[in-house]
Structures are given as C-alpha cells and as structure tokens.
Amino acid sequence: MERLPEKKEISNYIIQSSEDEIKRIAFELHEGVGQTLYSVFTGMQLLEANMTDHESKHHVHEMNEILEKTIQEIRFLSVELHPPTLSSLGFLPALKSYLNLYKATYGILVEVEQVGQEILLPERHRIMLFRVCQEALGNIAKYADTHQVHIKLEWEKHGVAIVICDEGIGFDVEKNRHKPGLAVMYERMKLIGGNCVITSTLGKGTTIQLELPLQ
C-alpha cells in the first residue's frame, strides 16, 4: 500500500509551493513590469527634454514623477516579497536590503551585529530564516511600540544563531503562543531542523532566539 505523506511533508510542500510562487511574482515585478516601466520612463524623459510647449512639458513632467514613484514602489514590493539578493548573494545581503526598507517604512532603527563569516545556507533554509525574521520585525512594528531593534547574527561552523531584541512593551508569550504570528515562526524553524525561542517581559521588551544547526 502506498505510504501517505506525513504532516511535515505536506507543510513543507505547501510552504515551498507558495514560496516558489512568491519568488516568481517578485521576479516578474522586478525584471518584467519594473524594467518595462523604466524603459517608458527614460523614453518620457527624452520626450520631456525635447518639448518646447510649456504646458505639455509640465504635463509630461508630472507623468514622469508618477512613473518614478511607481517604479520605486515596484522595487520595494519586490524586496518585500522576495529580495533578489536572497537567491543570488545570500541571507545577510537580503536581510540588510529588507532592513533598509523596514527602517524607511516604519521609522524603526535596526542595529545589526555580525559575528563570524556568513555560511551559504541552502536556498530553502535562507528563505525560511528570512521569513521568520520578517515576521518578527513585522510583529515589532505592529505591537512592540519601540523605535529600535537589535539583531545579532552568529555564524559558527556548526550553525547559525540569530537574536532579535527590542525594548518595547513586551507581551505574555504563553497566552499568545498559538496565535498565527508566533506559531508560524516556531513551525518554519522546525521545518528546517531549527529552533525558535521567544521570551518577553511586560514593559521591558522581547527577545527572539533562532538557531539553525548546519547539516
């Protein structure tokens, strides 16, 4: 009799399929729609430069400004969905690129400390770690009421450890353990053979410890 897939395999498959789709959309936005709009933008700039009628020139200038903002937003969307550097350069460049966007979007400053040299993780592990960090940072922006976050990455021969700390309002971890925002972080780390520990003290802040042993 054919063996039925285990729950973990099904979860893995669902997450992988959705990650593939997100990556495809991000790539299409960045390389397809974004590039096409950029070509239109440069063409419009040329048109604007050669125009003599003041009113038309002003009108084209306004359209160019809207195009420029749209191109910028498409780049931001692409980074949020799946930073292009995550597949090519690795986890840290992708995280740094996301953190620039995070600071500009939420006004929260993020300090990054790195110990050791980045070890190139398998792409699936990179994506999962990135998503967990993204979820943690999103939760901080939504609930922590803080203006600063500290991230420490420690690369060792046997694994990587990431600690995300904030000095926000804190929360009751036990009461919220099964809420989707936290449950998804535990689950994603478990799926790649890692571990996630969340500790928090009301009024003092929250610490998220992620550990991923390298096979």
Binding site: E62, K69, Q72, Y106, G107, L109, A141, K142
Partner: protein, 146 residues
C-alpha cells in the same frame, strides 16, 4: 515647492492651530522631497515619538500614500479593522498608535504632492464642521508653499 528652511515655521503654526481647533491628537504634513520621488513627513504636532522622521511614504500604500496617488481625501474609521490591505501598510497609524485618521491631499501646480493628516488615538470621529476646518488649513498650506 516645499522648502523646510522657508516654510517649516508657517506650516508648524498651521499644524498646532489644527491640533487645538479640531478634536484630534496628531497632525502631520508630508510632502514630496525637492529632489527625487521620496515623500516624507516634514512637520508634525502631537507626536509621541520621532519615528516619523525616518518614514518614507510608500506611493499608493497606506492612508497617506493612497491620498497622494488618488488626489482624494480618505478616512480610516477604526484602525486596524475595515482597512484596505494589511495593518503593516499603515506605518503612521502604527507609529503614532492612531485609531482614526482623516487625510486630505496637498496640491501644488495642479498635482497632489503631499498630504495633511489628522489622527485620533481614541476614536471620536470628526464632525463635518471639523472636516471643513481641516480642508481650509490644507488650502493655507498650499498657499504657503505655492
């Protein structure tokens, strides 16, 4: 065009005046930078922190981004409930812990280039009279920068 060194004091006066005249906790003015496509919060009153200084508005996203992209006023009645998109798309609401917001576009040379936003941390809503006051103040900002 908005020039911080020239217009800051006058717009701050308008923001403070609005904070006193309208039943609200936060007033903010965001405008497109002189160079490049970035739109930033330049003048605020009633703020609880300095996060606004680092925020760059996302064109077409959140209340302020949508007001600038559509050129029309917008109201958030009960944040984070009944909103378009995700709560994370509304950074100024999160940063200043706003529940209610009303935002109007600031036009320059016939195009929306900025936003004037009024927010409440306890939802009380705004009367039509108060909304009229806000629109008048937004026109004053337009006159100041034009």
């Amino acid at each position: 065009m908005f020039d911080k060194t020239i217009h800051n004091a006058a717009i701050m006066d308008i923001c403070i005046k609005t904070l006193h005249e309208v039943n609200c906790d936060f007033v903010g003015f965001a405008f497109q930078n002189q160079i490049g496509p970035d739109i930033k919060w330049h003048v605020v009153a009633g703020n609880q922190n300095e996060k606004y200084k680092h925020i760059t508005l996302r064109y077409g996203k959140g209340i302020a981004g949508r007001v600038i992209s559509t050129g029309s006023p917008m109201t958030i009645e009960d944040f984070p409930h009944d909103i378009l998109g995700k709560a994370l798309e509304y950074p100024i609401m999160l940063a200043e812990k706003l529940i209610y917001a009303y935002a109007v576009p600031i036009y320059l040379n016939g195009a929306p280039k900025g936003v004037f936003l009024i927010g409440q941390r306890l939802r009380k809503g705004l009367s039509e009279e108060e909304k009229k006051v806000i629109i008048i103040q937004a026109r004053s900002i337009e006159d100041t920068i034009s």
